[in-house]
Symmetry: D3
Subunit: 281 residues, 6 copies
């Protein structure tokens, strides 16, 4: 076959829609606009952090116009994406609370990281702020019954920050994540107030329940962290267990059972080893 025949043959094969293609296309109904979602988050970010991402919002007198224009644009974009004016409106209604929550998160970081000097520095530099902005917006949308879009919104933050929070997770006030790369927070997690995580922490499922067809069931399967829990880097807390309040979990820990309040858990000690093969290790 010459090059045209090869091209032709493969174009034909790949043009044909399989049953799965057709089924997938039905599910998607109408494509969400990734650009519209990005714009919604960007506009909210400008409103929530006055003057940081849109200099024109730093003037106290004219700020009103810009906040209004931003929120009206959010309202219209969201209405067209979720096909529901009432949901878009209810989201607008919840924006002040989202802002309040985000400021508790920033405040928590200010009191946790010796490297930081001001809230301004956190807002400008810390990736967890971006992750929480996306998560808290996405979570409210999910609570309001929006499908698929919340997950796209949190995945945008995942790509930017390496922090993967499922929009279904419930997260209290004064929550913060330092560094953040590799953090995973599962769909049915419940997290209290004043909880802090470090990079690489997984709050995941330990096992799944399946129905008779072998389809995994979406049951509560991720941990509950009560207030004032800290989890150090690269630890995995798995299953529908409860980590009692005021508990500290050290780094690189694999934890699958509930622990009482005020616990301190750490990995068993590393040992000195003899490496014998190749370059060492």
């Amino acid at each position: 076959m010459n090059s045209n025949e090869i091209l032709l043959k493969n174009v034909k094969i790949l043009s044909e829609l399989s049953d799965i293609d057709r089924q997938n296309m039905e599910h998607q109904t109408e494509l969400p606009s990734v650009n519209a979602l990005k714009r919604i988050v960007e506009l909210a970010k400008q409103v929530f952090f006055p003057g940081f991402f849109d200099a024109s919002q730093s003037n106290e007198n004219s700020r009103y116009y810009h906040v209004g224009a931003n929120m009206d644009e959010i309202f219209n974009l969201l209405k067209s994406q979720v096909k529901s004016e009432s949901i878009a409106l209810e989201f607008i209604n919840r924006m002040p609370e989202i802002k309040r929550m985000l400021y508790t998160d920033i405040d928590a970081m200010l009191h946790s990281d010796p490297a930081v000097k001001s809230q301004a520095e956190i807002i400008l530099c810390y990736p967890f702020v971006q992750a929480m902005l996306h998560y808290r917006i996405a979570h409210e949308l999910l609570v309001l019954g929006v499908q698929t879009l919340p997950r796209i919104i949190t995945e945008m933050a995942h790509s930017l920050t390496g922090i993967d929070i499922h929009p279904g997770a419930k997260i209290g006030e004064y929550f913060c994540i330092d560094h953040g790369t590799g953090v995973v927070i599962g769909e049915t997690c419940i997290i209290g107030n004043h909880v802090m995580l470090y990079q690489g922490v997984t709050l995941g499922a330990k096992s799944f329940t399946f129905d008779e067809n072998g389809t995994p069931l979406n049951t509560p399967r991720h941990p509950i962290l009560e207030d004032n829990v800290t989890v150090y880097s690269n630890s995995s807390v798995l299953g529908r267990i409860t980590i009692g309040h005021d508990t500290i979990i050290g780094g690189n820990v694999w934890l699958t059972n509930s622990v009482a309040p005020y616990s301190k858990i750490m990995q068993s000690k590393a040992v000195a080893a003899t490496f014998t093969d190749g370059a060492g290790i």
Copy 2:
């Protein structure tokens, strides 16, 4: 020295090409176009997932033109990047198989994650789809003898998803990665069918062999995972070992020896500890 003299002095120093600069520039011969590579992956993505990333490809009747236009553009871009018409053509020839493989990966995820409701949601939201799209394209190019470009293609996905798959790895059907940040799959890995990884898993080398000049030798040094293996989050499986089929490896495990089929491996238990210094831990 005044500012002009300082600028001048450093411009002179940095304008001079060192021997290493010259040697590096020889190796690069002609610069690959990152934009061309991005476009190739984007065009393939539109073809593989009809209607998801280019609405005009959702119409069954006219889809043929768009698939043809996309594939012809892929063919031409690839031809100019790899300087070989026959390689570009052979890649076109393998595109249907790449699509088929990708759909097995998506199918596997559908049966593994209770949080997901449809293939459409996976295609739109799951970063591992992006990672596998890049990997499966890059791997075919590597098999066809293309240098450097495959690695650039997989590094694009690495930057977007935190999933780092070397294009040289061999990965079977129905492969999936949940969350994915921090996953590393080394160059000489061999992975069977129905394998699932979680975030932070390393399938890496344990040690290297060096030649007489101290240059590390590119020998098989990464693990073999047989069919139906699952590795939970943040575990490291290292060295040219074999993980027997139907094995489960728990999270945060450091594993450097082969294990038999049907094994279950987990970290030794975390211990309650007494923290004595500073703020705790």
Copy 3:
């Protein structure tokens, strides 16, 4: 309330600046331009790696003009961002040394990764090069007394590569990081020459000292790694401890005490387990 009233109500709430908003806005004084910082790094990258990211700089004769134009643009952008001509000038003065250091890093990788064939491939494909470019630039700016900007510069690399190096860390020559996702290097780390890290390694703090107001103090709290130390994937080395030279730390290790030179440390052995609940694990 109808939709206009709801919009109006929330616009009013979110237009008002709280005390914290005002305080944050004072701290920020003048917004750094993220685009200017990106451009500075991009221009330096073109200068440091001749011919790789700007083909016009590969010609030995005319290269002088382009290097000069790039450096003059860096000088002007930096001057306007840091509001200090002398700092901008001193940065120019240090650029040759930054280049020299980066080439030692690349050289170290060439001798460590069997998968790589040339420095050119490292420059084009390896994310740690991007991370070190950002870090080494940011570190020099921090040393010169620049606030906030260095952190923004390293966070750009963090988002792109998953490698999070605080600009305050001190890092010697011939440093390299393979794969890199999830690596965290804290503010007060001191790293010698010929040190190599793998993905997921944390060089972090173990505990903080607080002042009487509960504000964490910015004291030396991250590890010192002497020359020729290697830390394998996903290990955490925490606290102001010293890792003696020529030491190897295995993967998934949690280490909070100093170790002598020539040590080899690894995780205690994983154990075969019996999984009893649900789908396994």
Copy 4:
């Protein structure tokens, strides 16, 4: 008033919609997308002039895919702009005829301008090609009953070329305009075959008829040019007059009456003058 009061006052005034504003907004119903119209013309241009504006369409074998993809995109964009599938479809049906007409225009120029060497040069460089492309597309849309959009399309060409052809004009084959800036062709013009115009020619109305309300009536009011008419630069031919076939009209002529076939009309002679005031003239 201080600055905030002044801003506030004027924002209030300009926010209020006048009756005229409201009436205008009703007429516009839905905003046409200027970008969609530009894209339609661009796609048609690529199809009509193979290889000139899209290199990928120069390959005879794969050209079919690109033409199909372009035309399907034209079809979809047009359908969404005119809200009528049947009009969009009928436009597709007329595209081959539009192409044929355009090639007669180019052919006419090739035989008229001594400065030109090939059709390729005309396609690449001559602004009248752009003007005729826009006009011939717009005219067909107007004939199909589309409102407003045709005028927007011809105004795009007017802005680019200075050639202002009303989409309502009827223009035969082998029509060409040299240089073109300032040419105006009115709504009810009828132009035969093999007609050539030079820059600054107006084919306009001489007078209007008004209804009882003083509204100008849209009656035939522009000239009829029969076959083989040439009009040289800056002449004005006005009113519902007929210029007989094979007539030449010189430059800078003001003509308001019909002329017989085979006429030659020119301006009365310029005279030598005595300038007396100021710098001369």
Copy 5:
């Protein structure tokens, strides 16, 4: 000389600043931002024509926010371009009057062109609207004492429409220009109400007065057109003459003397000619 020497030689020559270069650079003081000026005009256009160029401004309830945000942005951009808060503020103050004037212009066109059906069509399609938008903004800025910027603003319209109105000209209400390409309106023109021009009309200077150094003096040198004057296509009206009210000037006329009210002026008749040389004419 080889290629490097030739490049070097010419770079040296062109790098040197001549006295004229230095003098020019002094005059420019600070470069106006063409982008800022474009944005100012675009923002004003959205405010003046509600719903036509920014769909979000068509909602009567939320329009207030968008108008406010636009005008605040205009205020800030203008302030930074003219280095004067009071001028920027006074411009804001005049915006309602600019809008009112523009609507008289559109109204005039509606009653003059039989080809048009609504004000909406004029706003969307007629280039003179763009020209008047730029002119009326530029004129107010000139009146407020702004240098250079007004001319840049009118030249933007000149490039887009071929209509060249000097910002210094004084133009009354209900002014319109049909087609417009080639229209020139000089700096010291005074134009009454209800004046209409067609394409190619020049309202220019006939002669200049020079000072003792041969520098042309900026004295009143362009025509005065009283109310209800119409000038048809390609006519030139030159010098400080007065065209009395209710006068009609035909096309292609060269007029350098004042005319009384209610005059009708037209070109002397074209004559049939005998062409003898070459292809005719």
Copy 6:
């Protein structure tokens, strides 16, 4: 036929290449890059007018680098567009002379237009500067034997300014055009020093000579203007005639015969007319 059949039918027709299509495609050989040509002109503009279009070139000390970088980029772009290193090099060699000529043009305008206050204002605002920049570059390329590209370059200026200068025309020093829209300067024009044109002036052909096949011959057919000639607006000077030095030609003149030095030519007088039909005129 249904919509797919209609689409299919027309795609087939328009996919087929006619003989003319094939012939055109041969002539074009390789497509010129319009973007490359735009960039060349933009880079030259920055070099010629220091500080006006690239602020970084206003610093006398570092200007050298930027001029060098610009000229090297011009050299490389041109080399790739004209496929000739020696032509690209010779163009570089002529750049100083092009700059010198442009400054004479600007100087001429400064002494001709009472509305202008400085050379800086001319450089920033006057469209003829853009037109002459394009023309003088294009003319040198044409002289060096480059095909097609010069015409594309002057047509760019034509679209932007309405000034249409054929690159083949020969134009002396101190040339200027006021307003400029509609100016046409033909291929074989020869223009002396200190010549000034106003808008709408045509220096065109009066008639063509044809060969035996009816193809127009490219012979000298446009006017010669000796030194110190001024042509006022909308006049046409046609044919291979000579306009003697120090001649003034008034506006709206149609001139087809040579005139002696020191002549003054103007249109025969407009006459008062009686309008009898319709709305007047």
